[in-house]
C-alpha cells in the first residue's frame, strides 16, 4: 500500500520512496487536507510512471491529482530524449485540452444589463453539446493546413488576430506537426466538431474579476478588479481522442505489452520512428485544439458584438494542460533538454523565458486554473522556482472527488440550480446530467488546490474570478 509508505517531506510535499521497479521516487504536491482525497490507485499510477525508462529525478502529482489512464490526471514526468520514452497515456485522450481567458472592455453594469441575451447568443453560436455540428465547414485541404500550422491558419482566414497568436502557448502552432501522421478516422471524427466545446467538464464561462492578489502582475496582464472576463475550457475533440487510441494500438503492435504495469502506459522510445510519428501526430492534434479554441473565441466575439458593437475581447493567454513538450532544464548543474509530459498540469514559466511573448517576459507566464461550475477560477503567474521544483509545471483545475454516476444519483437538479441562483450564476446546459455531473460538490476545493501551488512557489496567485454566466455541454 503506497498510502502506508508515503512520507511527509514538508508542508505540501509527500514522497513515495523507490520500491520494486521504480527508477525514481514519486512526489505528491498536496496539503494534508487534499491528501485525504488521493486514493491508492492514484498513487499506484504515480509509482507506475516512476518505473518508465529514462525518467529523470521524480514522477510528480499536482495538488489536483485524481485517477486517470496510465498517468493520473495531474501527473508530470520528464524524460531524457536519448534513453527516455513518450507515452500517449502521459498526454491523455484529449490532446491539448486547455484553457483561455479573454478580457472584455465592458463595464460590469453594461454587461449585466445584457447578460442573459449574451449568454443565449453564445449558446446559439457555439455548439456545446454532443453530436452537434459546427457552422465551420472545413475541406480536407484546410484541415491538413490547420493541423500543420495551427492558429496561423486561423489568422490567414480572419478568425484570429496577430495578438491572439502572440498570447497563445507556442504561439498557437507546435513545431513538427504533420497531418500525414493522423489517420483518416481521426480526421473524420474531428472535422465536424471544429468550433464546438463538447461535453464533460468543458465550458464557456463569463466571469467577474473578484479579487486581485498581485497588483503589479494583474496590471501587466490587464486584469482589473470588477471587470468582465470570459474563460473557455476545451480541447481537440474526437480528433485528439482518436489519435491517442490509434497510437496506443500501434505501440502495442510494435512493442507488445509484456512487463507493462498498466496497458494504458504503453510507450515508444522518443528516438524511435513510432515515437517520432506520435510526436508529429500529437503536435497536429494540439494545433487542432488551438484552432478549436480560436474559432470559439471568434464566435464569442461575434456574440458580444451583436449587443455591443464596440466591445473588444482581447486574449489574455491560452494554455495547454494535456501535452508533451521538449524544454530546457538544469539537472545536476547541467543544462539539458527533456521531454516533459503534462497530463492535467499547466506549464509554469517564470520571468525571462524566451518562449514567452514580450508582453509577459517581465512577469512570467499567465496560468489559468478553472474551478468547477459555480466556484471560483484563478489566474496565477509562472515562477522560476517551478523550473527546479516541478519541471516548470503547476496544477490545472479542481480535480474530481465524486464519480459522475454518484453525482447524478445523489445530487438533485433543484438543489444545484438553487445554489447557482443564490450565487447569481446563470447557466445554459445541454442536459440535466451535464449540470449534475459537474456540480461543485463533485470537485476538490479549488481554493486549496491553488493555495498549495502558491505556497510551494510553483505558481503565484494573481487574481480570483467569480462566475456570472456558464455555457455547458
Amino acid at each position: 500500500m503506497y498510502k502506508d509508505t508515503i512520507k511527509k517531506i514538508s508542508e505540501n510535499e509527500y514522497k513515495i520512496p523507490v520500491t520494486g521497479k521504480m527508477n525514481v521516487p514519486g512526489i505528491v504536491f498536496v496539503s494534508e487536507m487534499l491528501l485525504k482525497n488521493v486514493d491508492e490507485n492514484c498513487l499506484k499510477q504515480l509509482a507506475n510512471i516512476a518505473s518508465l525508462p529514462g525518467i529523470v529525478k521524480k514522477a510528480i502529482a499536482m495538488s489536483d491529482v485524481h485517477l486517470g489512464y496510465g498517468f493520473p490526471i495531474g501527473g508530470v514526468a520528464a524524460f531524457d530524449p536519448k534513453s527516455g520514452v513518450i507515452s500517449p497515456g502521459g498526454v491523455g485522450y484529449d490532446i491539448n485540452c486547455g484553457v483561455r481567458l479573454l478580457l472584455v472592455n465592458l463595464d460590469m453594469e453594461e454587461f449585466m444589463g445584457k447578460r442573459e441575451q449574451i449568454l443565449s447568443e453564445i449558446y446559439r453560436n457555439v455548439p456545446s453539446g454532443v453530436g452537434e455540428e459546427s457552422e465551420f465547414k472545413i475541406g480536407p485541404e484546410d484541415l491538413n493546413n490547420l493541423l500543420d500550422n495551427g492558429s496561423e491558419w486561423a489568422l490567414s482566414k480572419g478568425f484570429a488576430t496577430k495578438d491572439d497568436l502572440d498570447r497563445t502557448e507556442d504561439y498557437g502552432r507546435i513545431d513538427g506537426a504533420d497531418h500525414s501522421k493522423i489517420s483518416q478516422r481521426a480526421k473524420s471524427r474531428g472535422k465536424n466538431q471544429l468550433g464546438t466545446v463538447g461535453a464533460g467538464n468543458h465550458f464557456i464561462e463569463i466571469q467577474k474579476v473578484e479579487e486581485i492578489f498581485d497588483e503589479r502582475v494583474s496590471k501587466a496582464m490587464g486584469l482589473k478588479k470588477g471587470s468582465v472576463v470570459v474563460m473557455l475550457h476545451t480541447g481537440s475533440r474526437g480528433l485528439g481522442h482518436q489519435v491517442a487510441s490509434d497510437y496506443i494500438q500501434m505501440m502495442e503492435k510494435e512493442y507488445g505489452i509484456d512487463g507493462l504495469p498498466d496497458r494504458e502506459l504503453i510507450y515508444a522510445p522518443i528516438e524511435s520512428e513510432l515515437g517520432k510519428d506520435y510526436r508529429a501526430a500529437m503536435a497536429a492534434a494540439a494545433n487542432f485544439a488551438f484552432v478549436n479554441r480560436q474559432l470559439i473565441t471568434h464566435q464569442i466575439r461575434k456574440s458580444f458584438a451583436k449587443f455591443f458593437p464596440e466591445a473588444k475581447l482581447d486574449l489574455l493567454y491560452d494554455v495547454a494542460h494535456n501535452i508533451a513538450k521538449f524544454e530546457q532544464f538544469v539537472i545536476d548543474g547541467k543544462e539539458v533538454t527533456l521531454c516533459v509530459h503534462r497530463k492535467g498540469a499547466t506549464r509554469s514559466f517564470g520571468p525571462g523565458r524566451l518562449e514567452l511573448p514580450e508582453k509577459y517576459r517581465g512577469i512570467g507566464q499567465p496560468i489559468l486554473i478553472p474551478g468547477s461550475m459555480g466556484t471560483f477560477s484563478y489566474v496565477l503567474v509562472g515562477t522560476e522556482t517551478a523550473r527546479s521544483v516541478s519541471f516548470a509545471s503547476t496544477a490545472h483545475g479542481a480535480g474530481r472527488v465524486l464519480s459522475r454516476s454518484y453525482a447524478t444519483r445523489n445530487l438533485s437538479l433543484e438543489s444545484v440550480n438553487a445554489d447557482l441562483k443564490q450565487k447569481d450564476i446563470l447557466i445554459k446546459a445541454g442536459s440535466r446530467k451535464g449540470i449534475l455531473e459537474e456540480a461543485p460538490e463533485a470537485y476538490k476545493d479549488i481554493n486549496e488546490v491553488v493555495r498549495v501551488s502558491d505556497s510551494l512557489g510553483i505558481g503565484k496567485i494573481v487574481a480570483k474570478l467569480k462566475p456570472l454566466a456558464v455555457v455547458k455541454g
Binding site: D39, Y69, G131, G238, Q242, S245, S405
Partner: protein, 133 residues
C-alpha cells in the same frame, strides 16, 4: 443481468455478462450504447458490419468500442442490438441501431484501465471496462 454500471471517480465503469464470450461482448456494446443514449429510444434503421482482429480479447474489445465511438462521432449512430462472433482472435460484429431520439452523451475513448474479460463459471463470462468521458 446484461450489464451494470459501477463507481468510478472520473469516468464510466461497467461490467457486462453472458453465457458465452460472444454474448458478453454483445452486452458490452449495449452497455456503451446505454450510456451514449442515456436510456432514450434509438431509431433502429441501420446495420453496421465490423470485422477486427487483435492480440488478445482485451484488444478486441478496445477496438470494438473504438469502432462504436467512431460511428457515434461521425454519424450519431448508437447500437440497439449486437450480434458478435469471435473465432480465435478475430471478431465479426453485426450492429443494429441509429440515432437517439433524445440528447445523447459523449464518450472520449475506450480504455484498458481495469479491463478484464474472463470466464467465471460454466456458461458464465464477465467483462469489465472503463470509458473515458
Amino acid at each position: 443481468m446484461k450489464f451494470e454500471f459501477l463507481e468510478h471517480a472520473a469516468d464510466i465503469k461497467f461490467k457486462s455478462y453472458g453465457t458465452t464470450l460472444d454474448e458478453a461482448f454483445a452486452n458490452a456494446v449495449l452497455a456503451t450504447a446505454s450510456y451514449l443514449s442515456e436510456g432514450n429510444p434509438i431509431k433502429e434503421k441501420d446495420e453496421k458490419h465490423i470485422s477486427i482482429t487483435g492480440r488478445d480479447y482485451e484488444s478486441l474489445l478496445y477496438r470494438l468500442l473504438d469502432e462504436l465511438l467512431f460511428l457515434f462521432d461521425t454519424e450519431g449512430f448508437i447500437a440497439s442490438k449486437a450480434e458478435i462472433k469471435i473465432k480465435g482472435l478475430a471478431l465479426d460484429a453485426k450492429i443494429y441501431g441509429g440515432k437517439s431520439e433524445g440528447e445523447p452523451n459523449h464518450i472520449k475513448a475506450a480504455t484498458y484501465y481495469d479491463m478484464y474479460i474472463k470466464q467465471t463459471g460454466v456458461r458464465r463470462w464477465e467483462i469489465q471496462a472503463v470509458l473515458d468521458v
